[in-house]
């Protein structure tokens, strides 16, 4: 049962990832990205990481994709006529992609996993909120604080970046 679900979610994720790359319309790309994230959340459920699956849907599919769609529609860039790729660009990206696939697959294939390559032998630790809380508030307390501060800085940075500064006032001050 779980291997059928794995294949289902894997195919959904990869097909929608290809959809992100090959869709001409940026809005369609964003919707494909959303579906791809849903597939990844399903994979997380299969890996017994329920909290991460929920967070993936809430944070990524909810906030990030909504932000992407908002910006795409705000800027309204459809690009018009797409330029043809030069042969050098296409060839070099195919070569680079091929090399990346080869490297990653050989890495994944030669990875030494010892006795742990079957999930049934391993105790499930990631399925309770209590386990996360214990880790986050003991071992990872400092990173939690730092990440909270990072979110504050990001919020301030976004406000500064998207504010329209009045250039004439600056020139008058000079």
């Amino acid at each position: 049962m779980s291997d059928v679900l794995f294949h289902l979610f894997a195919i959904l994720t990869v097909a929608c990832a290809l959809g992100v790359v090959f869709n001409k319309n940026a809005v369609n790309s964003a919707i494909c990205f959303l579906l791809s994230l849903v597939g990844v959340a399903g994979l997380f459920v299969l890996l017994d990481a329920f909290l991460l699956a929920v967070l993936m849907v809430l944070v990524y599919a909810g906030a990030v994709v909504a932000l992407f769609l908002f910006i795409i529609m705000l800027l309204d860039v459809q690009g018009g006529e797409r330029k043809k790729f030069t042969k050098a660009t296409l060839l070099s990206s195919v070569i680079a992609g091929g090399l990346l696939v080869t490297g990653l697959v050989s890495f994944a294939r030669n990875a030494r996993t010892g006795q742990v390559s079957v999930a049934d032998n391993v105790p499930v630790v990631g399925n309770s909120l209590r386990a996360y809380a214990e880790q986050l508030f003991t071992v990872y307390l400092l990173p939690v604080q730092i990440v909270g501060f990072l979110l504050l800085i990001a919020m301030l940075g976004v406000i500064v970046l998207s504010k329209k500064f009045d250039n004439t006032a600056v020139e008058d001050a000079k």
């Binding site: 291997d3 794995f6 894997a10 994720t13 990869v14 290809l18 992100v20 790359v21 940026a26 790309s29 990205f33 791809s36 990844v40 994979l43 997380f44 299969l46 890996l47 017994d48 990481a49 909290l51 991460l52 944070v59 990524y60 990030v64 932000l67 992407f68 705000l74 800027l75 860039v77 690009g79 797409r82 330029k83 070099s92 990206s93 680079a96 992609g97 990653l104 890495f107 994944a108 990875a111 996993t113 742990v116 390559s117 079957v118 999930a119 391993v122 499930v124 630790v125 990631g126 996360y132 880790q135 990872y140 990440v147 990072l150 979110l151 990001a154 940075g157 976004v158 970046l161 998207s162």
Partner: protein, 123 residues
């Protein structure tokens, strides 16, 4: 007989062997999947011209790495990978907000987000 066994063991080393026989979802399956998603995202970054779509493909690569982390964590019976993915999600949310603000500021200045027209640093 031995030839058949040898060919069978050679087949089981391939990911496609999943379609031919009984299949146990192993760590390697998740790693292959993660590699494929990462490669698709990388390909998109190289191939697309729209800055917003390039940014989406970057996010796709980030998501691929989280799949690998959660799979490693699950198959080793530890929680650290999951906690790390927790942090990655937080940082990615902040990063997307800042990146999109930069793209909006860029559009306001140049009236385009196509990378072939954003060539102020060329030559």
């Amino acid at each position: 007989m031995s030839l058949a066994a040898a060919s069978l063991s050679a087949m089981s080393a391939l990911p496609l062997a999943a379609l031919t026989g009984p299949f146990e979802v192993s760590l390697h399956s998740y790693l292959y999947l993660s590699a494929v998603i990462f490669a698709v995202g990388f390909f998109g970054v190289l191939l697309r011209k729209n800055t917003l779509v390039i940014y989406m493909c970057l996010e796709l690569m980030l998501v691929a790495s989280t799949v690998a982390l959660v799979a490693f964590s699950r198959f080793n019976g530890v929680l650290d990978g999951n906690v790390f993915v927790f942090f990655i999600l937080t940082v990615a949310a902040a990063e997307v907000a800042v990146g999109l603000a930069i793209i909006v500021a860029l559009f306001r200045r140049r009236q385009t987000v196509q990378v072939e027209q954003l060539n102020a640093l060329k030559n």
